[in-house]
Amino acid sequence: MITYLIRRVLAAVGVLALVALLTYWIFFALSADPAVMICGKTCSPERIDQIRATLGVDQPFMTQFFTFIGGIFAGRTYGTGANAIECAAPCLGFSFQTNQSVLEMIGDRMPVSITIAVGAAILWLLIGVSAGVLSAVKQGTWWDKAAMMVALSGISLPNYFIALVLQYVLVVELQILPFPSTPAFGDDPMFWFKSYLMPWTVLAFGYASMYARLTRTNMIDTLGENFIRTARAKGLGSGLVLGRHALRPSLTPIVTLFGMDFAGLLGGALITETVFGLNGVGKLTSDAISKNDQPVIMGVTLMAALFVIVANIIVDVLYTTLDPRVRTKVA
């Protein structure tokens, strides 16, 4: 198990390094000159060169890349003389646009993204999985059909579409909810809840639909398997059969999927945050992209990849404990 873990972690570091290199290279090769954007309206070629030197983008690619990687492990110093800024490890650099530390920027916005992701995850797991289980048990009934209809629409409707329809109906017309925003929980818990409710719902809808369909399929498969039939034949109560024997194996793929989906969301629910104007990592990303703020894009990409990779490892470890059939293979 330990060697397995070590191997996985090493592989993860390799993948991360590749992601970093590739991202850095693509922006280095393709992206617009950030100096021109900063230079703005009253620009001259000399000033552009000056800004390029200040940003360090006048260096050859590999030099820049290794300075960046070096910054992550050892920190680095920006600027010279009185304008010098010390950036301690792990240093992701400074935004071209705001001169803020990228790490701080991500840190500032993380709580919002986590709040959105966790709330939505609770919603979609609760609703998605229980709807799926119910549908599987009551396969073919009107409940099953209705639930699966809703789930189908859920995966077919773009979430920005749902977001705007909900906002129009609930906020503009009926005025039941406030405009989504990111208040502090402590100030007014009710207002906090109401402000986040719509983003949670919008984000959760698609996932819940997906999970309901997946749970249903898995449950039906498992219920048809031999060991369940045996358990039933032994006279175990249907509740027990469901709980102990059917649910567990059906949920294993859900755990895998959930780990990846949730990790993906920590990198920012880009569309939801953008549509509602919520100041999370997703919004930070889309803003950075529109302003060509390369250090921020780099930072967010790396962090998002890190989450997915870590989740991958955790999921695999969990998998072995959840599903007895896999356990033997890894150990």
């Binding site: 592989a11 993948v15 590749l18 992601v19 991202t23 693509i26 922006f27 393709l30 992206s31 617009a32 189908l152 629409s153 995966i155 077919s156 409707l157 773009p158 979430n159 920005y160 579409f161 705007l164 329809v165 906002q167 129009y168 503009v172 984000l203 698609g206 996932y207 997906m210 369909r213 997946l214 399929t217 898995n218 498969d221 793929p253 999927l257 993906g264 990198g267 920012g268 880009l270 569309i271 953008t274 549509v275 990303t285 889309s286 992209i289 529109s290 060509n292 894009i297 967010v300 990409t301 998002a304 990849a305 997915v308 990779i309 991958n312």
Partner: protein, 326 residues
Amino acid sequence: MSMLPAGLLNEPGEVTSEPHEGPSSTRGRSSTFRRITSAMFASPAAMLSAGFIILIVLIAIAAPLLVKVSGWDPFQYDDSAINPDLGGLPIAPWGGISAEHWFGVEPQSGRDVFARIVYGARVSLTIAFSAAAITTIVGVVLGMLAGFFGGWVDQVISRVMDFLMAFPSLIFMIALLSALPAGNRPVLLVMVLCIFGWPYIARVIRGQTMSLARREFVEAAQASGASKAAIVFKEILPNLTGTIIVLVTLAIPGYIGTEAALSFLGVGVVPPTPSWGQMIAMAVPWYATDPMFFFVPGLFLFLTVLSFTVFGDHLSRAIDTGETQK
């Protein structure tokens, strides 16, 4: 959500199930085919969605003809249909729907929404179909290679797949598209969709190839001295047909949705070329004052994605049922 693999992840349980068909024989396959088609014909939902898909494809093909009938091309301005004093809002109610403009007009320009929908269908479908075709070919080839040869071939392909799947693909697609010159946006879109899309197909194909490779009929072929290429193309590929068809059907709505999402985020197809996602993006600010403008492309997008998903669902189930009945 709206991430690239969404369409494929919808049904991993079904798609990743064991290979559907047994040893291939012409007679067996044609009877399987008949069973599946009759199962599909028996389902009204499958037929309705197939009908809608055919309708949309026909609309896309016949777009130039349709706009001749409706009288407005998708780029033509009509300033008599909008009110410049109200920010360019359509004059007629319901988004400017009239005998002249069947689905209303676009605010601020008066362009005909019907014409843009039918031309948008062309763009959206072309991108989704091309991406699906390319990812399928790449995914099937690489998936079969990895699954059949194993060893270092499998290692290399699997690591590349892990790598691409660990990538924050939506972030990356947006960043990539905004950095690239606008020149040939549809081609770039297809490219970006393909880069991040093929592993999801290859993963499934790899798994199935691995289990097929262990079956008796493959081993028998190997024993009789058939070349590796012959085994892959004559024995394994035919047995993957069902899976591939299901994968393609489920990939298409995923790509339609992703193209729309990218256009929605402003990095997709460049206006004035219409695509549905881009039309929705344009309509977003107008959702309160001109809901029709938002609703029409939204409805088309929804119905198309829904139809493909329902059709794919039924197809996959029909193939599965065929398998268990045997």
